[in-house]
Protein backbone atom coordinates (compact mmCIF):
# COMPACT_ATOMS: atom_id res chain seq x y z
CA UNK A 1 0.00 0.00 0.00
CA UNK A 2 2.06 2.95 1.35
CA UNK A 3 0.40 5.50 -0.95
CA UNK A 4 0.12 8.02 1.87
CA UNK A 5 3.44 7.33 3.58
CA UNK A 6 6.36 8.74 1.63
CA UNK A 7 9.97 7.55 1.76
CA UNK A 8 10.80 10.78 3.58
CA UNK A 9 8.23 9.90 6.28
CA UNK A 10 9.57 6.37 6.52
CA UNK A 11 13.08 7.78 7.06
CA UNK A 12 11.85 9.01 10.46
CA UNK A 13 11.69 5.44 11.76
CA UNK A 14 14.41 5.06 14.39
CA UNK A 15 14.54 8.75 15.37
CA UNK A 16 14.22 9.53 19.06
CA UNK A 17 13.56 12.48 21.38
CA UNK A 18 16.10 13.51 24.04
CA UNK A 19 15.56 11.68 27.37
CA UNK A 20 13.18 13.35 29.83
CA UNK A 21 13.41 13.05 33.64
CA UNK A 22 10.14 12.98 35.60
CA UNK A 23 9.74 12.74 39.37
CA UNK A 24 6.82 10.57 40.47
CA UNK A 25 4.59 12.47 42.86
CA UNK A 26 2.28 10.78 45.41
CA UNK A 27 -0.43 13.37 44.81
CA UNK A 28 -0.36 12.68 41.07
CA UNK A 29 -0.77 8.95 41.74
CA UNK A 30 -3.75 9.63 43.99
CA UNK A 31 -5.43 11.92 41.44
CA UNK A 32 -4.92 9.34 38.74
CA UNK A 33 -6.21 6.54 40.95
CA UNK A 34 -9.35 8.43 41.93
CA UNK A 35 -10.15 9.50 38.37
CA UNK A 36 -9.74 5.96 37.04
CA UNK A 37 -11.85 4.46 39.85
CA UNK A 38 -9.13 2.24 41.26
CA UNK A 39 -10.17 0.05 44.20
CA UNK A 40 -6.84 -1.16 45.61
CA UNK A 41 -5.83 0.87 48.65
CA UNK A 42 -2.14 1.01 47.68
CA UNK A 43 -3.11 3.00 44.57
CA UNK A 44 -5.69 5.22 46.27
CA UNK A 45 -3.17 6.14 49.00
CA UNK A 46 -0.45 6.76 46.41
CA UNK A 47 1.89 4.12 47.83
CA UNK A 48 2.32 2.57 44.39
CA UNK A 49 1.40 3.69 40.88
CA UNK A 50 -1.26 1.75 38.94
CA UNK A 51 0.22 0.09 35.85
CA UNK A 52 -1.34 2.53 33.39
CA UNK A 53 -0.27 5.61 35.36
CA UNK A 54 2.98 5.59 33.42
CA UNK A 55 1.11 5.89 30.12
CA UNK A 56 0.07 9.40 31.06
CA UNK A 57 3.18 10.36 32.97
CA UNK A 58 5.39 11.10 30.00
CA UNK A 59 2.97 13.44 28.24
CA UNK A 60 4.62 16.60 27.01
CA UNK A 61 3.76 19.81 28.87
CA UNK A 62 4.00 22.95 26.72
CA UNK A 63 2.84 26.59 27.12
CA UNK A 64 -0.88 27.07 26.37
CA UNK A 65 -0.12 29.20 23.32
CA UNK A 66 1.70 26.25 21.79
CA UNK A 67 -1.35 23.97 21.90
CA UNK A 68 -3.04 23.30 18.57
CA UNK A 69 -6.67 23.86 17.57
CA UNK A 70 -7.39 20.31 18.73
CA UNK A 71 -5.90 21.13 22.13
CA UNK A 72 -2.87 18.93 21.66
CA UNK A 73 0.77 20.04 21.84
CA UNK A 74 2.81 19.83 18.65
CA UNK A 75 3.52 16.16 18.18
CA UNK A 76 7.12 15.15 18.49
CA UNK A 77 8.60 12.54 16.21
CA UNK A 78 5.76 13.00 13.73
CA UNK A 79 6.72 13.29 10.07
CA UNK A 80 4.54 15.21 7.61
CA UNK A 81 1.61 12.92 6.79
CA UNK A 82 -1.62 13.68 4.90
CA UNK A 83 -3.95 12.46 7.69
CA UNK A 84 -4.12 14.87 10.62
CA UNK A 85 -6.70 13.66 13.15
CA UNK A 86 -5.07 11.72 15.96
CA UNK A 87 -6.66 8.91 17.96
CA UNK A 88 -5.22 6.61 20.58
CA UNK A 89 -4.55 3.15 19.22
CA UNK A 90 -3.26 0.31 21.30
CA UNK A 91 -0.47 -0.06 23.73
CA UNK A 92 1.70 -2.93 24.86
CA UNK A 93 3.59 -2.89 28.15
CA UNK A 94 6.35 -5.00 29.55
CA UNK A 95 6.71 -4.28 33.25
CA UNK A 96 10.04 -4.76 34.97
CA UNK A 97 9.64 -2.82 38.21
CA UNK A 98 6.81 -1.28 40.22
CA UNK A 99 6.70 2.52 40.41
CA UNK A 100 6.65 4.24 43.81
CA UNK A 101 6.34 7.94 44.76
CA UNK A 102 9.47 10.12 44.79
CA UNK A 103 11.23 7.97 42.20
CA UNK A 104 12.86 9.85 39.35
CA UNK A 105 12.22 8.14 36.04
CA UNK A 106 13.95 8.69 32.73
CA UNK A 107 11.79 8.37 29.62
CA UNK A 108 13.07 7.95 26.08
CA UNK A 109 10.73 7.94 23.10
CA UNK A 110 11.62 6.48 19.70
CA UNK A 111 9.55 6.27 16.53
CA UNK A 112 9.65 2.57 15.78
CA UNK A 113 7.19 2.04 12.88
CA UNK A 114 4.82 3.72 10.38
CA UNK A 115 2.17 1.63 8.59
CA UNK A 116 -0.79 2.51 6.37
CA UNK A 117 -3.98 0.43 6.65
CA UNK A 118 -7.44 0.58 5.15
CA UNK A 119 -10.14 1.27 7.76
CA UNK A 120 -13.92 0.92 7.41
CA UNK A 121 -14.30 4.61 6.62
CA UNK A 122 -11.06 5.28 4.77
CA UNK A 123 -7.29 5.05 5.03
CA UNK A 124 -5.56 5.08 8.39
CA UNK A 125 -1.92 5.53 9.31
CA UNK A 126 -0.57 3.71 12.36
CA UNK A 127 2.49 5.19 14.05
CA UNK A 128 4.21 3.13 16.74
CA UNK A 129 6.49 4.59 19.39
CA UNK A 130 8.71 2.70 21.80
CA UNK A 131 8.87 4.51 25.12
CA UNK A 132 11.36 3.13 27.59
CA UNK A 133 11.26 4.11 31.23
CA UNK A 134 14.26 3.56 33.48
CA UNK A 135 15.40 4.66 36.91
CA UNK A 136 18.21 7.23 37.06
CA UNK A 137 20.60 4.38 37.75
CA UNK A 138 19.55 2.70 34.51
CA UNK A 139 17.29 -0.04 35.87
CA UNK A 140 14.49 -0.79 33.39
CA UNK A 141 11.05 0.04 34.76
CA UNK A 142 8.95 -0.62 31.71
CA UNK A 143 8.89 -0.77 27.94
CA UNK A 144 5.84 0.64 26.23
CA UNK A 145 4.91 0.22 22.57
CA UNK A 146 2.33 2.93 21.90
CA UNK A 147 0.27 3.28 18.73
CA UNK A 148 -1.29 6.48 17.44
CA UNK A 149 -3.87 6.32 14.65
CA UNK A 150 -4.14 9.14 12.12
CA UNK A 151 -7.41 9.39 10.20
Amino acid sequence: MNNLVTDEALSWIGKSDPPVEIEVNRSDIIKYSVSTEQVLIKYLKGDEAPPMFIAGLSREIVPLQDLGVDGLPPASLLPDLPLKRVMAGGVRFEFHKKVKPNEVLVFEKKLSDITEKQGKTGPLIFITYLITCKTKSGEMVLEQFQTRILR
Binding site: Y32, V34, T36, D70, R92, E94, F95, T147
Partner: protein
Protein backbone atom coordinates in the same frame (compact mmCIF):
# COMPACT_ATOMS: atom_id res chain seq x y z
CA UNK B 1 -8.10 -12.40 46.09
CA UNK B 2 -7.71 -15.40 43.87
CA UNK B 3 -5.90 -18.55 45.01
CA UNK B 4 -3.36 -19.71 42.42
CA UNK B 5 -4.14 -23.42 43.01
CA UNK B 6 -7.76 -22.80 42.11
CA UNK B 7 -7.08 -21.09 38.79
CA UNK B 8 -7.91 -23.03 35.62
CA UNK B 9 -8.03 -22.22 31.91
CA UNK B 10 -11.45 -20.90 30.95
CA UNK B 11 -12.15 -19.40 34.35
CA UNK B 12 -13.85 -16.01 34.13
CA UNK B 13 -12.39 -12.97 35.86
CA UNK B 14 -14.75 -10.80 37.92
CA UNK B 15 -16.47 -8.27 35.66
CA UNK B 16 -16.95 -4.61 36.36
CA UNK B 17 -18.94 -1.78 34.78
CA UNK B 18 -17.69 1.74 34.17
CA UNK B 19 -19.73 4.77 33.17
CA UNK B 20 -17.66 7.83 32.39
CA UNK B 21 -19.20 11.20 33.22
CA UNK B 22 -18.22 14.74 32.32
CA UNK B 23 -16.71 15.06 35.78
CA UNK B 24 -14.76 11.80 35.71
CA UNK B 25 -13.40 12.54 32.23
CA UNK B 26 -12.38 16.03 33.36
CA UNK B 27 -10.56 14.61 36.38
CA UNK B 28 -8.86 11.90 34.33
CA UNK B 29 -7.67 14.23 31.60
CA UNK B 30 -6.47 16.74 34.17
CA UNK B 31 -4.61 13.97 36.01
CA UNK B 32 -2.77 12.86 32.88
CA UNK B 33 -2.52 16.42 31.50
CA UNK B 34 -4.40 15.67 28.29
CA UNK B 35 -5.88 18.83 26.72
CA UNK B 36 -7.31 17.05 23.62
CA UNK B 37 -10.67 18.75 23.01
CA UNK B 38 -12.52 15.59 21.98
CA UNK B 39 -12.68 14.70 25.68
CA UNK B 40 -14.43 17.87 26.95
CA UNK B 41 -15.49 20.24 24.13
CA UNK B 42 -18.73 18.85 22.66
CA UNK B 43 -19.15 21.47 19.93
CA UNK B 44 -15.60 20.95 18.66
CA UNK B 45 -15.90 17.18 18.98
CA UNK B 46 -19.11 16.90 16.95
CA UNK B 47 -18.66 19.73 14.44
CA UNK B 48 -14.94 19.55 13.71
CA UNK B 49 -13.87 16.01 14.51
CA UNK B 50 -17.29 14.57 13.56
CA UNK B 51 -17.73 12.30 16.55
CA UNK B 52 -21.34 11.85 17.75
CA UNK B 53 -20.44 12.74 21.35
CA UNK B 54 -17.54 13.42 23.71
CA UNK B 55 -14.97 10.61 23.32
CA UNK B 56 -13.90 8.40 26.22
CA UNK B 57 -10.09 8.30 26.25
CA UNK B 58 -8.54 5.16 24.80
CA UNK B 59 -5.93 4.90 27.59
CA UNK B 60 -8.71 5.23 30.20
CA UNK B 61 -10.36 2.18 28.68
CA UNK B 62 -6.98 0.49 28.80
CA UNK B 63 -6.76 1.29 32.50
CA UNK B 64 -10.20 -0.23 33.10
CA UNK B 65 -8.96 -3.40 31.42
CA UNK B 66 -5.81 -3.48 33.53
CA UNK B 67 -7.89 -3.16 36.68
CA UNK B 68 -9.67 -6.43 35.89
CA UNK B 69 -6.30 -8.14 36.25
CA UNK B 70 -4.67 -6.25 39.13
CA UNK B 71 -7.84 -6.36 41.24
CA UNK B 72 -8.17 -10.11 40.56
CA UNK B 73 -4.62 -11.00 41.62
CA UNK B 74 -4.14 -8.40 44.36
CA UNK B 75 -0.80 -8.98 46.10
CA UNK B 76 -0.68 -12.63 45.02
CA UNK B 77 0.93 -11.92 41.65
CA UNK B 78 2.69 -9.25 39.65
CA UNK B 79 1.72 -7.95 36.25
CA UNK B 80 4.44 -8.71 33.70
CA UNK B 81 2.80 -7.92 30.36
CA UNK B 82 -0.33 -6.08 29.35
CA UNK B 83 -1.69 -4.94 26.00
CA UNK B 84 -4.90 -3.55 24.61
CA UNK B 85 -6.23 -2.05 21.41
CA UNK B 86 -8.96 0.56 21.01
CA UNK B 87 -10.93 -0.95 18.12
CA UNK B 88 -14.14 1.03 18.44
CA UNK B 89 -14.69 4.51 19.86
CA UNK B 90 -16.76 4.86 23.02
CA UNK B 91 -18.70 7.94 23.98
CA UNK B 92 -19.86 9.82 27.03
CA UNK B 93 -22.99 8.21 28.46
CA UNK B 94 -22.08 4.67 27.50
CA UNK B 95 -21.65 2.04 30.19
CA UNK B 96 -18.76 -0.25 29.39
CA UNK B 97 -18.30 -3.66 30.94
CA UNK B 98 -14.81 -5.05 31.46
CA UNK B 99 -13.92 -8.66 32.09
CA UNK B 100 -11.82 -11.53 30.90
CA UNK B 101 -10.94 -15.17 31.22
CA UNK B 102 -7.93 -17.33 31.94
CA UNK B 103 -6.24 -18.69 28.84
CA UNK B 104 -3.30 -20.60 30.27
CA UNK B 105 -1.90 -21.59 33.66
CA UNK B 106 1.66 -22.81 34.21
CA UNK B 107 1.68 -24.61 37.56
CA UNK B 108 5.51 -24.80 37.59
CA UNK B 109 6.33 -21.14 36.98
CA UNK B 110 3.20 -19.44 38.31
CA UNK B 111 2.64 -17.70 35.00
CA UNK B 112 -0.98 -17.09 34.03
CA UNK B 113 -2.18 -15.64 30.74
CA UNK B 114 -5.55 -13.97 30.49
CA UNK B 115 -7.56 -12.36 27.72
CA UNK B 116 -9.51 -9.21 28.47
CA UNK B 117 -12.44 -7.36 26.95
CA UNK B 118 -14.28 -4.12 27.24
CA UNK B 119 -17.82 -4.28 25.80
CA UNK B 120 -20.38 -1.59 25.12
CA UNK B 121 -24.08 -1.88 25.90
CA UNK B 122 -24.71 -3.57 22.54
CA UNK B 123 -22.27 -6.32 23.52
CA UNK B 124 -19.67 -5.17 21.00
CA UNK B 125 -16.07 -5.44 22.12
CA UNK B 126 -14.62 -1.94 21.98
CA UNK B 127 -11.19 -2.79 23.38
CA UNK B 128 -9.72 -6.28 23.54
CA UNK B 129 -6.59 -6.94 25.54
CA UNK B 130 -4.44 -9.55 27.19
CA UNK B 131 -2.12 -9.83 30.15
CA UNK B 132 0.45 -12.11 31.73
CA UNK B 133 0.89 -12.29 35.49
CA UNK B 134 3.30 -14.25 37.67
CA UNK B 135 1.99 -15.64 40.93
CA UNK B 136 4.21 -15.96 43.99
CA UNK B 137 4.29 -19.75 44.38
Amino acid sequence: MVNFREIAAGQALPEREFTATNVSLFCYNAAIWNPHRIHYDETYTTEVEKHPKIVIDGPLQGDWLSQIVVNWVGEEAELLKFDYSNRRASYLGETLKSGGKVLKVDQKTGLVEVELFLKNEDGEITSPGSATVRFNI
